[in-house]
Every structure is written in C-alpha cells, then in structure tokens.
C-alpha cells in the first residue's frame, strides 16, 4: 500500500516548494532546478525533521533534476545523508547526472561513502537491501 503525503519545504518568500513525498514507509525528496544555498539548507532541516516525525524506514534523495552540484550543495547532501543515518534510517542518493558525477570527482568532493543508485527504482531496491542488512546485524 502506498500512500502519498506532501509536505512543503520550500521558502515561502520565493514561492518555491520542494515537496517531500511519502511512499509507504519511504520518504522521497526530489531536488531540482537552480537551488540557492538557503533553500538547500532548509531542505536539509525539513527532511531530517520529516524522517523523525514519520519514522521513515528509508529516504531517497533524487538529484536527477540538478544540472550543477557544486561543493557546497554536495556537502549538504552528504551531511543530510549522515543526519538521517544517525536517526537509524538509511538514505540513498539517486539519479546523479553523468556530467555532474564527472565534475564532482574532478573537483575532489568526497562522495564515495554515500549509497547511490542510478535511478529511483534501483534506489528503492538498494534501500531494501540496506534495511535487510541492518536487520541481520541486530
């Protein structure tokens, strides 16, 4: 059973809304377009709160809509993954564009420790595996 729940996380001042969707016990946030720093940090806070509030068992962060990820945005993405993990909920970054991947590696941003997948579907599969591993470890 999937059920959808939209929580606006955008800044009211600019009219932007970054929805956090809930699909079953998984949260999905899709970052897209031109993000300014404040919006990125706001999404980070909102997503962490939302994981705690909904007791989500996993989080997918879809970045396929980002044509550019500089070191600041990359760092915030890595940080939100770490925060959500601390809450006990695995997070997977999906859909990094090839040009962005090439650029991040050359820029030297450490992203290798993140769990990533090509798209949302493979991300969901990876989340299931991470959860199964987590259960076995307990």
């Amino acid at each position: 059973m999937s059920h959808f729940d939209r929580v606006p996380a955008g800044s009211p001042g600019t009219g932007e809304i970054i929805p956090i969707m809930r699909i079953g016990d998984t949260l999905l946030v899709a970052l897209q377009g031109e993000l300014d720093d404040t919006t990125v940090v706001r999404i980070e806070e909102q997503l962490t709160m939302e994981v705690a509030r909904t007791h989500a068992k996993g989080t997918l962060i879809d970045v396929s809509g980002l044509g550019v990820v500089d070191s600041f945005i990359a760092r915030v993405i890595a940080r939100v993954v770490a925060m959500v993990r601390l809450l006990g909920s695995p997070a997977v970054v999906v859909g990094i564009q090839p040009a962005v991947a090439v650029t991040l590696v050359e820029l030297g941003v450490p992203m290798g420790h993140l769990d990533t997948a090509l798209n949302a579907e493979q991300g969901m599969a990876l989340l299931r595996r991470l959860r199964a591993d987590g259960n076995r470890a307990r």
Partner: protein
Amino acid sequence: MAIELAEPTAVVVAVASEADLVHARQTLRAEAVRAGLGLVDQTKLITAGSELARNILTYATGSRGELRVEQVRSRERVGVRATFSDEGPGIEDLDAAMTDGFSTSGSLGLGLPGSKRLVDEMTVSSAGASGTTVVIVKWRR
C-alpha cells in the same frame, strides 16, 4: 598564445548575495551554450564558476565582487572566459591556497585547486588591498 575577444561585449554579474550565485551559474550556462561547449564542459565551467563566485562571498571585503563573462578565441579555438574580481583583502599565501585541503574558512579547501582541475586555464592574481582576480577559460573541444 594570445586570447582575443570573439565578441566586443561582455556579460557582467554583480556577486554580492546567494541569489547572485544562482544568477552567475545561469549566466555561465547561457554563455557556455552559446560558445558551443558540450554538456560535461558546460557543467565543469559552471561548477568552477560557482566555487569562485562563492569564494567572493566568503572572503572578499564586503562579500562583494564581480563576474565578467566573455566569448573568446585563440587561433582556431573558441571558448568562454570568466573573470572573478574583488577588492580585497587578497590571498595571503597563494601557493597554499592552490593546495587541496587548505582553507582559512573551515571549508573543504577544494575551491581554487578543484576549480583549476575543471577548466582549461586558470590564473589567480592577488595583490593585497587591490583584491583578487581569478580568470578561467574553457575551450570548445
């Protein structure tokens, strides 16, 4: 090898706020597309530009400076040149600033050395109170 302007006009973007970073990235993308750069090269140029514009906000006096974007050519090549300038306080140790992991602001220290890896040419000139100027060029392949 001399670089000359391919067009007499430049696009100038004030860099003084987070919103200007977005504007700087949009301007770089538009000019990179106009110069015919491929997607990966566009992305590299814009990302390097984003790092350098952010440096202005982090380090420059009054957190303000300017980005100037030009269409350039050299012999048979065409490309985009972006010049980031501010009015101080300058970079104390340029060699250190170009080293991976060096930072005076608590960042990862990737801005300058990382940006250099993303573009074809980069020059940094810093003269104390007269500020810092970083010029990057990305050529069409």
